[in-house]
Symmetry: C2
Subunit: 391 residues, 2 copies
């Protein structure tokens, strides 16, 4: 096991009606002038925003609103937020929504305290060390941003999708009410589930030996998703299944399932080019990319894929021909994705094979990291496998 | 799933040689005058205390020492620590050792800021709301106190062993270097492993339905312990196995495997009377009590014991007679404990069946909580099963 630090200081407030505590939570965590940051209207329509505002009012906390965050959050909204925070002397940012609203809130929180262009943190010019405190009221189980120190923003000029991270970006508190996710359409629910599973797989496929505890924790989340996701697709109002998925989404990405080991994240980087180019949902892009990536890198460590196949998807181990078991696991994953309504190839996603060279160039692979380091040729092959995949 | 709060703000600093960062960590977390609190000499003999002091000196942090904590930490040492902290204007307590040193440090941290008798927190007269900050350098994987808000102290007068808990008692940081545990004798290693597994089982046996994610996380820790414990018993210097166990011990008890569900803790309460009376190791007492408790309550929810048997101990499910599978799981657990050198009955522990009425009276059961509420008669039967158990 490699040396590591694990620090997840977020206060998680989980369950029915917990959004009504948000005013008290903001005060407890030092906020007095709040920017409420949200998406494109569902929080307004559902009445959630009103309940949040009422709770803040009751706690005597001043607040201003900034809605309209795009599903792949854009730099333009971040600049708007930074200006508003400075003008209003905001000292706490409350994201109400999914990963997009939270990631955008984190970018604003960074930018307000920074003299230069906030994009410096995303282009790699600067490392996050200070940010306004952020709290969240989560409405989609997917990104895990409610428990992570990560943020991904898309720069409109050139449609560059880039991420940053640091402990100062971990939310002070996150309110997770599974009931808020019951109205989510099946497609978005499935995209979220795929993202959660991808966050685990990116950590599961490691070159660090003998990390049984994190392996098993990874498998715990994956088994939960395999069981619970089809249940919510069939029965969207199943609170118990929604609750298991929502908490699994946090566990998948606050890094408790990833410490002490090398991680991969190539699939995420490869997918980011898809969602940047076609503005598709990140989870849908991952459903197309992740199994293709698995097929491409499988021979790097067949036994690890056998472990996934047997422990997560219940495949029988073929001791005479482990590669068959490994392939059976990948096929089971793709069937699972198809079964919850996810696309499995470019056509189903709305992507085009002729755009592959452009995406490879933009991604600029070749940094040599991950489970199996991939150069431009490798990434091209992953895209090609993804383009033509079928169940 | 039940509503819950989860808050584990401890900074975990894990791996080889990390104790050399302790000076910087104390400063980062606001300490300037430190009480180093430790046990009965092993930290001195191994040179660990010297390295810790050196690190504090290099960081310019003032420190005084208080050693001699008993394996079942006593109130007398806590009073001594409170006096010393007040005299020396201590603002940070650093526990170097296992659960005993950490629990004693937490009790001192509570007592220094409290006007009355610190025992009020342990007798139930007061609830912890403020304490001096505590940091830890862990030397035994067992109690999980390095990541929990819990503390258990024994009052010498009457040998009352009682616990308290609160978020203010969660350590600010915990240094976990698995190499420090490699010199631990096999018996203490096995006691620690048993304690870790018991912390999970107390959460696993729940009456809350549909908590797949926490079930799976529980099983992740249990499977890890089943794999790794025999490896360190056979090969004490196996760093990788030690590392998996050490991190599993934290995960087992910071409550990430217990949120959203009712818990039990009857086995711990029943065991506390054993270790209070015979001064045996807590883990050894649990090895005798826990399987007996399982046998006694098994019929309350046979399928839950089948889940444990199949998922943790790899038993085949007997669909015609699930009780057989449940019993096979409990037997597998007891064989596992015997295999790592743990006692499985009163004689092997050094306890006496004729003392059962006295222990039942002292424990004063009948509060009606847990997986299956137990009255005095029930507890008597658990002790009797434990007294006469064999593999």
């Amino acid at each position: 096991m490699e040396n590591f630090n694990f620090y997840s200081p977020t206060e998680f407030v989980f369950g029915k009606n917990r959004e009504n505590e948000v005013g008290a939570l903001v005060k407890k965590h030092g906020g007095s002038r709040v920017l409420i940051h949200f998406g494109r209207g569902s929080a307004v329509k559902s009445g959630l925003l009103e309940r949040v505002e009422k709770s803040l009012d009751e706690a005597g906390v001043y607040h201003v609103e900034l809605g309209g965050v795009h599903p792949n959050p854009l730099d333009s909204k971040v600049y708007e937020g930074i200006d508003l925070c400075r003008k209003e002397n905001i000292d706490f940012i409350l994201a109400v929504g999914g990963g997009s609203s939270i990631d955008s809130a984190k970018a604003i929180a960074l930018g307000v305290l920074y003299d230069g262009d906030f994009w410096d943190f995303y282009s790699g010019k600067a490392n996050p060390s200070a940010a306004l405190p952020v709290g969240t009221v989560l409405t989609i189980a997917a990104a895990g941003s409610e428990g992570s120190g990560d943020s991904v923003i898309t720069k409109e000029s050139g449609m560059l999708k880039r991420g940053t991270g640091g402990d100062c970006l971990r939310p002070r508190f996150s309110v997770l009410n599974p009931a808020l996710t019951c109205t989510l359409p099946a497609y978005q629910t499935a995209c979220g589930a795929t993202d959660i599973m991808a966050h685990v797989f990116e950590r599961y496929f490691t070159n660090t030996p003998e990390v049984e505890i994190t392996d098993r924790l990874c498998e715990a989340v994956l088994c939960t998703m395999v069981k619970e996701t089809p249940r919510v697709i069939a029965d969207p109002c199943n609170y118990e299944a929604r609750a298991n998925i929502m908490w699994a989404g946090m566990v998948a990405h606050n890094n408790i399932v990833g410490v002490g080991r090398s991680q991969d994240w190539n699939s995420h980087a490869i997918e980011h080019e898809l969602s940047a180019k076609y503005d598709c949902a990140h989870g849908a892009g991952l459903a197309v990319i992740m199994p293709a990536w698995m097929e491409y890198v499988m021979d790097h460590n067949v036994m690890r894929f056998c472990q996934m196949a047997t422990r997560v998807f219940g495949c029988a181990m073929n001791f005479e021909n482990p590669s068959e078991t490994a392939r059976a696991g990948i096929n089971a994953f793709r069937r699972f994705l198809k079964g919850i309504g996810m696309p499995v190839n470019f056509a189903e996603l709305g992507a085009k094979e002729e755009d592959i060279p452009e995406m490879v160039e933009k991604m600029a692979p070749g940094k040599g990291w991950g489970f199996k380091p991939l150069n431009a040729e490798d990434v091209t092959k992953v895209y090609e496998l993804a383009a033509r995949a079928c169940v």
